[in-house]
């Protein structure tokens, strides 16, 4: 009788936590990641701490990664994706690996599978915000990278710090026309924490936030919100079109509910808070594991016997929530293994 094991697809914070939890329960795992490195999107986020930690959770990804890499009970397969599943007594899973060391197919047997394949950031090119056409319109993920590398925001066009930044919320979320009837949960937190960080490091930068409703985050949101809302300009409206202006600046038109008039303003950098949308792989996973996707295109919370899901593959989640969902998936997988242990 071979030792029971769980195959985890996706090595972001959810997959890493699931592997860590299963290892702690003495269950062997195989972690399959299509990228060359583990950690997923969250591993690339910048720390948002100001005078104190603001609880974004990005730093815990580095720690989880460290633990999993040091654990001999986790087999890590990077540059790999699952191409075939045969279901017998156990799962027979074909993994295609394409890295410098090897190019070809591997087979792994597992008793349960956890799908932690993450999300796809909404592609804002279809929106009238000039993304892809104007260099100084960036997504929040691109701003994360800039902050991570340079500590302060800079304009992609000239590498200089902007004087005025606009954050546009709900790009691809809460959007009836797109059929995206969900809130991405994390963008208000991310934008406001990022704004706080920028104001600390470069107080002269003026920040405007365009929003629908500010979502609560953290346990004492009221205190955080009261602190930050005085430092930035809050406009409860989403802008219309974005036009290019001299000096690679951006001209934005919006209806200002204060005074009820349309306004035009110039910004040096426009940050689009793009939504969490279902990963392109979800359909392929549904085919391989014979699942029915949720109405929104995300994976179901309880996909089927022996198959479990965790993290943003299930829908928008913060890092903290992804960690909880990974614990949940690990427990359900362990329960499934126990029920299927021949005695």
């Amino acid at each position: 009788m071979p030792e029971q094991s769980v195959l985890i697809i996706g090595g972001g914070i959810a997959g890493l936590t699931a592997a860590e939890q299963l290892a702690a329960m003495k269950i062997r795992t195989v972690l399959v990641e299509k990228q060359t490195v583990l950690g997923g999107y969250a591993a690339g986020y910048a720390c948002k701490a100001t005078h104190a930690c603001v609880k974004c959770g990005a730093c815990v990804v580095a720690e989880a990664l460290h633990k999993v890499c040091a654990d001999p009970s986790v087999e890590v397969l990077t540059d790999s994706h699952v191409t075939g599943v045969v279901r017998g007594e156990r799962f027979g899973i074909v993994v295609h690996r394409a890295c410098a060391r090897m190019q070809g197919d591997l087979t792994r047997e597992a008793d349960a599978v956890i799908l932690s394949t993450g999300f796809k950031p909404f592609d804002p090119q279809s929106k009238p915000y000039g993304y892809g056409r104007f260099p100084n319109v960036v997504t929040n993920l691109e701003l994360e990278r800039i902050l991570r590398e340079q500590s302060i925001p800079v304009r992609p066009s000239d590498g200089k710090p902007p004087e005025r930044i606009a954050f546009v919320q709900c790009v691809g979320s809460r959007d009836e026309h797109l059929g995206h009837l969900w809130c991405s949960k994390v963008c208000c937190a991310s934008a406001l924490r990022t704004a706080g960080l920028i104001k600390l490091r470069r107080p002269q930068i003026e920040i405007t936030l365009f929003y629908i409703d500010v979502q609560s985050f953290g346990k004492d949101f009221q205190t955080f919100y009261e602190g930050i809302r005085d430092d930035i300009i809050m406009v409860r409206a989403l802008p219309g079109d974005v036009f290019p202006a001299a000096g690679d600046r951006l001209r934005m038109v919006y209806f200002d509910p204060k005074g009820r008039q349309s306004r035009e303003e110039l910004f040096d950098l426009v940050v689009l808070s793009v939504g969490i949308t279902p990963a392109a792989d979800n359909r392929e996973l549904a085919r391989l594991f014979q699942l029915t996707l949720e109405q929104n295109g995300f994976l179901p919370g309880f996909p089927g016997p022996g198959v479990f899901s965790a993290g943003t593959a299930r829908g928008p989640m913060s890092i903290a929530e992804s960690i909880v969902s990974a614990g949940q998936a690990a427990l359900h997988a362990a329960e499934y293994l126990r029920r299927n242990t021949p005695s």
Binding site: K26, Y45, R148, L181, D213, G218, G327, E335
Partner: protein, 543 residues
């Protein structure tokens, strides 16, 4: 293990045979607590479910099919009044009907249900037949006949949402569900007057859409809130300006429903003291420290799940229950790690209790002798640095700093000027490694040493580094609120400040010793800090 009817006086240590199933005490009897009990029982673990409420379901109701599952013991009307011991060997005292029983348990999970606070006072509205809280309304709606909601055609029902303070998706979801349900009754027009509508939970944006489609009017406020007045007969008048159109509106609702605040159970305050666990500013039994995710507290073996740690939706509570069960099972199957734990040389100890007072994980046992309980110790080394008798040592990582310092000093003695960056291994150590790996330019003469926590770096060690030829010492800690050992970074800061003063008195530039805070994902900032420190040291040499 048998309950003991005596109160928790000192008793010989309860022995745990390896083949015995470790028992878990679950405090609380709400959905989350019962789900944890169910998961643990399914895994063959034994649990005690205790709550001060008298009406806990029977264990057979908790576990549908008890075959092959662990034993569930129900303790209704029971209150935790004392707890001694450490992870894997707690002794919990439960009081029930004046009787005290002591229970040996390996771990404790707190999952006490929330309380609700109404917003009557905050909104200046008294309860009347025209004014109901959300809970009152839900009560009426779930009561046998819907007629009890006293609606008749032509009725106006107004929900006030988030007007008193920013609320949560839990409440916003309940408001929308209730508004949609009432809107379906013939002739009823429901309004939701809201500040920020909290839809950051699964399914709520769709519910918002459906509620609007059902005919409920949503009016949003950002600048000026509506004026609400209540007449002597209890009737409410609401006057507001619609921000989109600028039109003024006046409503005289037949029913005004006030939202509520979800707050932690009042019992958590007492439990925090009895269990010696840190709580947050709101009274939950878990600080906001990200290292406590998902369900951990500052004490090993004591978990805070679901309603004991944050405000959550029912789906989030179910996930938390499973994550808590996973954490219990993982913990109980882990062998006690014995490397890198602090231990006290009893020959040196003078029972000053500094260690007991400072240990963030409460791992110090006070008996006839003072000792560190290895299984409860997280190896931060704060006690090692603070013990006035230098009576505490700590395995490999404790001696590591001194050894590495000797190495670095010997290695550097013939070379160019050097300085030391002492890095917390959880934060700055990772950031430094990343900075090296990613090719950031690091100054010449930089020597990095990792310590388990910046709080383990003693005054003597810092002075030793300066004495052994380091041009300067940079102490790199976690950010405030991000220290795994809660206070290690603050203690490091205090020591640095004290020594900077002393350096000044000694005629040396205080800037030779600096402290900065970092996180694991800050390689650029790490490089910047060490570069600037190197430059500062060079200006001292040239001057």
């Amino acid at each position: 293990m048998r309950p003991n009817t005596s109160a928790a006086t000192h008793r010989p240590e309860v022995c745990h045979a390896m083949n015995q199933t470790p028992k878990t005490l679950i405090i609380g009897s709400g959905n989350c607590a019962l789900q944890i009990a169910r998961h643990l029982s399914a895994a063959g673990a034994s649990v005690i479910v205790a709550d001060s409420r008298p009406d806990i379901p029977q264990s057979t109701e908790i576990v549908g099919n008890p075959t092959g599952s662990g034993n569930i013991e129900i303790m209704a009307s029971a209150r935790l009044t004392g707890c001694t011991g450490f992870v894997n060997s707690f002794e919990a005292v439960l009081a029930r009907n004046g009787q005290h029983t002591t229970h040996a348990v390996a771990g404790i999970v707190v999952a006490e249900d929330y309380r609700r606070k109404t917003n009557h006072d905050a909104l200046g509205l008294r309860a009347s037949k025209y004014v109901a809280s959300l809970s009152d309304l839900r009560h009426r709606l779930t009561a046998a006949c819907p007629q009890q909601t006293e609606t008749s055609p032509g009725q106006t029902i107004v929900f006030l949402n988030g007007l008193a303070q920013e609320n949560t998706p839990v409440i916003a979801g309940e408001v929308m569900l209730a508004a949609r349900e009432l809107q379906r009754l013939p002739g009823v027009q429901a309004y939701v007057l809201t500040v920020n509508l909290k839809v950051a939970a699964d399914g709520l944006e769709r519910l918002y859409h459906e509620t609007k489609t059902a005919g409920v009017f949503f009016v949003k406020f950002s600048e000026t809130l509506p004026q609400i007045e209540q007449a002597d007969d209890g009737r409410v008048t609401i006057v507001f300006e619609d921000e989109a159109s600028g039109h003024m509106y006046r409503l005289r609702p037949d029913l005004t429903v006030l939202d509520e605040i979800v707050v932690p159970s009042q019992d958590l305050d007492g439990l925090s003291r009895i269990l010696n666990v840190d709580s947050d500013s709101l009274g939950f039994l878990q600080t906001e420290n990200v290292h406590r995710l998902p369900v951990f507290t500052n004490r090993r073996g004591i978990l805070a799940a679901g309603p004991a740690r944050a405000v959550m939706t029912p789906a989030e509570l179910a996930a938390d229950a499973a994550a808590a069960a996973a954490a219990v099972l993982a913990r109980t199957q882990l062998p006690a790690q014995i490397v890198d734990k602090a231990s006290i040389d009893t020959g040196q100890c003078i029972r000053c209790l500094t260690c007991l007072r400072l240990c963030p994980y409460r791992s110090v046992r006070k008996d006839s002798r003072i000792s560190v309980v290895a299984e409860a110790c997280e190896g931060c080394g704060i006690c090692v640095a603070e013990c006035p008798r230098e009576a505490i040592t700590m395995g490999e990582s404790g001696a590591f700093f001194d050894r590495r310092l000797v190495e670095v000093a010997a290695d550097a003695s013939t070379a160019a000027p050097w300085f030391l960056a002492v890095c917390c291994s959880r934060s700055a150590g990772r950031a430094g490694q990343l900075a090296e790996h990613m090719g950031y330019e690091l100054p010449e003469g930089l020597k990095m040493v990792e310590v388990p926590c910046a709080g383990s770096l003693s005054v003597k060690q810092i002075m030793g580094a300066l004495a052994s030829g380091a041009g300067g010492v940079l102490v790199l800690t976690c950010h405030v609120g991000n220290c795994h050992s809660e206070s290690g970074n603050l203690l490091a800061q205090q020591r640095v400040e004290l020594l900077r003063e002393r350096l000044g008195l000694m005629g040396r530039d205080p800037d030779r010793l600096q402290r900065h805070t970092l996180a694991a994902n800050m390689p650029a900032e790490f490089a910047d800090i060490v570069r600037r420190f190197g430059q500062r040291l060079r200006t001292m040499t040239t001057n």
